[in-house]
Structures are given as structure tokens and as C-alpha cells.
């Protein structure tokens, strides 16, 4: 569906993205993450055919989007700019793009999308009078006007209120269920974690991590274990013991609780050590690793 092979882009001799390789399959929601200036937008622009790669290839449906006009009919985009004209009404904006993409039954499609965006009552108002959130929703409706097979979304939830963010998220999941492919460029790690099946983390122009979200969580983030002890004496004893274990990299006391970061998955051993030393444990649980932990680990690791 989307295939990026050894992709490199240089501007005036400066390498912006370097040797990128990844694939996005049909129906997948692919999260493309990275700090500002990492090269995310450049990658997206190359895939969309707005920039030519210095070397390597970026293919969608096996072809270059930049040189195949008809292929772009299968692609919907929502960039940082919503692609809307302030002087035209919501309805006229959607109608313009519908005509450019040769959409059959335009009126019905526009009506449905305005309804989806919650903008039916404002359909005849000029877009220049809309709030940022309303424009974002209308921009998303515009990107979907021709039922694209692939959607490229650049920070789709940016500027939206929580309710609208939820709506966008649900919509993306709905589209993926219909076997549409989503390329999501986002800073919102929570959003990516909730909806993406696979991610790539880009830093300083190279991909630092590329896998399914679960695999990356296991691969990159150190396991964390939270223990609650029965009393203060037990807590002190446990803290001293945990600090002495070579597979515990960090240990933080908090009242009767201790949070231990392990160098490797070793939960059963740690419990055996505690119980074997007569320490009474009231509760022990593994902490779920968030994508944020993975992201920070990856970016930090690369920076160091």
C-alpha cells in the first residue's frame, strides 16, 4: 500500500531524512512520530509527491503519487493547513473538492459529511468565520469527500476540543475497519497509542524504532514494578533489598510503596526475593508502559 525504500532527502546539501524504510499495509493505522524538525513533514510531502527524493523511493499503490494524477484520486489528505478557502462557505469548499475528484452524488455526500462534522447549520457560512476546531473538522470532511483508500493526516486532532478529538479518533478507527489505510503524523502520543497498530519513531532524519506498538513497548521501555508493603519496617527492608539487586536499575520509595525499574523482565524473581527474605507484600503489580515512555526512551537513546 505505502512503501518507503531507502528514502533520503537533502536540502542544499543538508540531509533532512536519511535512508528511511517502512511499509504500511492495507487497513493499517500507521503512526509516524518524532520531535519537531525530525523530518516527519518532509517524509509525508515526499510520499504525497510534493517533494522529490534525493535518493530512494516512496510508493503508494506501487506508484509515485507526484507523477500519477489519477492515483491521487485514491488519496485524501489533511495537512497542517486545512486546505479550505475562507471566502467560500463550508458547502462550497466541499463542493469544490468533490468536483475536482469527480465525486458522484455530490450533494448527498456533502450533506452526510457536514452532518458528520456537526456543521450542517453553518453550511452556508463563510469558512473565515469558523473557529479553528470547526475548520479542522471541515478539513477532515474535505479529505474524505471522495472516499479515499488512503488518508494522510497531519495532527488531525490539533485544535479540537476533547469531544471532537474523540469523534476524530472514532472516525479513524471506523475507516480502518473499512480497510482504509491511515498514515497519521502526530505529536499526540495518547492518541497514537489508542488507535495505531504500527508506529515509526523518527529522530534527526532516521527511523529509530519501527514496529507494532506492543512490540515496541516491550522492546524499548524498561519494565516497572510497583510494590506496596504492609508496614514501614517492611518497606525499609524491601527498599534496602531491592537496591542491592543487580537487575534493579532504579528504586523509589513512596510511603509504604516502592517503584522499582528493572533492567529486564524479572517479576517472578523479584517477588521470590522479597518473600524469601520474610518481607510481607500487600500488593505487587506491573506498571503498564506507555508509548510516551517508549518514545522518550528512543529519542533520549538516540540523542545520547
Amino acid at each position: 500500500m505505502i512503501e518507503v525504500r531507502d528514502l533520503t532527502k537533502k536540502f542544499n546539501g543538508k540531509t533532512v531524512v536519511n535512508g528511511l524504510n517502512f511499509q504500511v499495509q492495507e487497513g493499517e493505522i500507521f503512526g509516524y512520530l518524532g520531535p519537531n524538525g525530525a523530518g516527519k513533514t518532509t517524509t509525508m510531502r515526499i510520499i504525497l509527491g510534493l517533494l522529490r527524493p534525493t535518493s530512494g523511493k516512496a510508493l503508494v499503490f506501487g506508484d509515485d503519487l507526484g507523477s500519477n494524477d489519477e492515483l491521487r484520486r485514491k488519496v485524501g489528505i489533511l495537512l497542517d493547513n486545512d486546505g479550505l478557502y475562507d471566502g467560500l462557505s463550508a458547502c462550497e469548499n466541499l463542493d469544490y473538492y468533490a468536483q475536482l475528484c469527480n465525486v458522484p452524488d455530490r450533494e448527498e455526500k456533502i450533506r452526510d459529511l457536514l452532518d458528520f462534522a456537526g456543521l450542517t447549520k453553518r453550511k452556508d457560512d463563510k469558512v473565515g468565520t469558523f473557529s479553528k476546531g470547526m475548520k479542522r473538522k471541515l478539513g477532515l470532511a474535505r479529505a474524505m469527500i471522495h472516499d479515499p483508500d488512503v488518508l494522510f493526516l497531519d495532527e488531525p486532532s490539533s485544535g479540537l476540543d476533547p469531544e471532537a478529538q474523540r469523534m476524530v479518533r472514532d472516525l479513524i478507527l471506523h475507516m480502518a475497519k473499512e480497510k482504509r489505510t491511515i498514515f497519521l503524523n502526530s505529536h499526540d502520543l495518547d492518541e497514537v497509542q489508542k488507535i495505531c497498530s504500527k508506529i515509526a519513531i523518527l529522530n534527526r532524519g532516521t527511523i529509530q524504532a519501527y514496529d507494532r506498538v506492543e512490540n515496541l513497548r516491550n522492546k524499548f521501555s524498561n519494565p516497572v514494578f510497583e510494590i506496596t508493603l504492609t508496614d514501614a519496617a517492611n518497606a525499609k527492608h524491601a527498599f534496602d533489598l531491592l537496591q542491592s539487586l543487580d537487575y534493579v536499575s532504579d528504586c523509589k520509595p513512596d510511603g509504604l510503596g516502592i517503584t522499582a525499574t528493572l533492567k529486564e523482565e524479572n517479576y517472578s524473581n523479584i517477588l521470590n526475593e522479597l518473600v524469601g527474605n520474610g518481607i510481607k507484600v500487600e500488593e505487587a503489580k506491573k506498571l503498564a508502559k506507555s508509548l510516551e515512555d517508549v518514545y522518550l526512551d528512543v529519542v533520549k537513546e538516540d540523542s545520547s
Binding site: F11, R45, L48, G49, L50, L51, R52, L65, G66, D69, E70, R72, R73, V75, I77, L79, D80, N81, D82, G83, L84, Y85, G87, L88, E92, Y96, Y97, Q99, L100, C101, N102, K126, R142
Partner: protein, 236 residues
């Protein structure tokens, strides 16, 4: 299919210009102002020369006003679209860069030409108010208004659009100001630019038409050197 895409863009651009009331108002006011200020010159010439003077004014004024309108609306259609970033989304639609450029040129040309026509009508009416004899454009001037003026408007829009897409925002701003000064100055000279002894004939009109068509063809050819990368990297 290609033509229909061009007309979709053209229609949208026309609608966008017409709906921008401030810009339309500026265009119409300029057309009216220069017509009102220029046409009364017919009362200052001898009765024998009034017909030629009127035709000379029409020849120069309608052309220059059309080009001025082309300048005025091209800024909105090309420059603003690039500055606001909408051009990136448009470049990702199933349109080629040439179709986008052509559609915009057609859209702006139609509106600019309609205003130039309005100015021609207005000038004819005002000139007749100040003249004792009936003044109407000669056949050569009519042909000039019907063919040469729109061809030159399209050429001006095409060239300006090409520049807006090719160059960076700062360069465009400098060029815009320079062009405005030149055209405004040229319009102000309407009353003096063509001597009383000069009569516009079919030959002048024919030569100008050929020049316009050749220029348009040249600019159309130059659009091959536009690229999406060039446009995207000169947005900021």
C-alpha cells in the same frame, strides 16, 4: 476531462473573487474612476479629431485597465493561496500543475475582462455626454476589445501567476509593489500617451494580438519549469 478540471478551478476562482467584496469594490472603483477622469478629454479636442481621440483612448485605456485588474486579482488567486498554504492541498488533488495554473488564469481573466468591458461601456457613455457627435468604437477597436484585451489580460495573469508560484514570498511582495507602481503610472498617462495624429488600424490590432498569443504560448511553455517542490519550498 482536462478542460472540465480547468473550468472547475476557473469557476471557483471567479466565485472567490466576486465574493471578496472589498477586492471587487476596489476593482470597480478603479474602473469607474479612470473612466470618469479620462473620457471628458474628448471635449478638449477639435471636432475633426474627436473620433480618433476617442478610439485612441479606448485602445490604450481598456487594455491597461484590464492588465491592472489582472494584477489586482492574481495576487488573491495565486499569491494568497500560496501564502495560506492551500496550494499544498490542491497539488495533492488529481489535477496537474498545468491544469491548476490554467484554471486560475481562466478564472481571473474572465473577471478582469468583464470589468475592462464595463469600463469600456462607461467610457463610451461618458465620452458621448461630452461630445456633440455620436462616438462609438471603430471596428478595429472593437476587435481590439474583443480579442486583444482578453489575450493580454490572460498573458498578464499567466505571467504573474507563474512568478507567484515560482518565487519566494519576499520576492513576490517586492515585485507586486513594483508592478503596481508601473501600471498605476501607465494608467495615469492615458490622456497623453497616444498623439492626436495617430490612428489605430487593423495592423496595430493584428500585431498586438499576435504578440499576446505568442507571449501566452511562451508563458504556457515556461510552466514546464514549475515544479511542486519549487512551490512547496518557497511557501515560507
Amino acid at each position: 476531462m482536462t478542460l472540465s478540471k480547468i473550468f472547475i478551478v476557473a469557476k471557483k476562482e471567479m466565485m472567490g473573487i466576486i465574493k471578496t467584496k472589498s477586492q471587487m469594490l476596489v476593482g470597480l472603483l478603479f474602473a469607474m474612476w479612470f473612466s470618469v477622469m479620462t473620457a471628458p478629454v474628448v471635449k478638449t479636442v477639435d471636432e475633426a479629431a474627436v473620433f480618433d481621440t476617442f478610439n485612441n483612448l479606448m485602445f490604450y485605456f481598456v487594455l491597461m485597465l484590464g492588465i491592472f485588474m489582472a494584477y489586482l486579482f492574481s495576487g488573491k488567486v495565486f499569491f494568497n493561496e500560496k501564502r495560506e498554504g492551500n496550494i499544498e492541498t490542491l497539488l495533492c488533488t488529481p489535477l496537474s500543475l498545468r491544469q491548476i495554473w490554467s484554471g486560475k488564469v481562466v478564472g481571473v481573466t474572465i473577471v478582469a475582462y468583464l470589468i475592462a468591458l464595463l469600463a469600456a461601456v462607461l467610457m463610451t457613455i461618458i465620452a458621448n455626454i461630452f461630445s456633440t457627435s455620436m462616438l462609438l468604437p471603430s471596428p478595429a477597436i472593437l476587435l481590439h476589445i474583443v480579442l486583444v484585451v482578453p489575450a493580454f489580460i490572460a498573458t498578464a495573469v499567466g505571467l504573474l501567476g507563474f512568478g507567484h508560484l515560482l518565487l519566494g514570498m519576499r520576492e513576490n511582495q517586492i515585485i507586486n509593489i513594483s508592478i503596481f507602481i508601473v501600471i498605476f503610472f501607465a494608467l495615469s498617462l492615458t490622456k497623453n500617451v497616444i498623439g492626436a495624429g495617430f490612428v489605430v488600424s487593423w495592423i496595430e490590432v493584428g500585431v498586438l494580438l499576435m504578440v499576446a498569443v505568442l507571449l501566452l504560448a511562451l508563458i504556457s511553455y515556461l510552466t514546464r519549469y514549475l515544479s511542486k517542490e519549487r512551490i512547496v519550498t518557497t511557501i515560507t
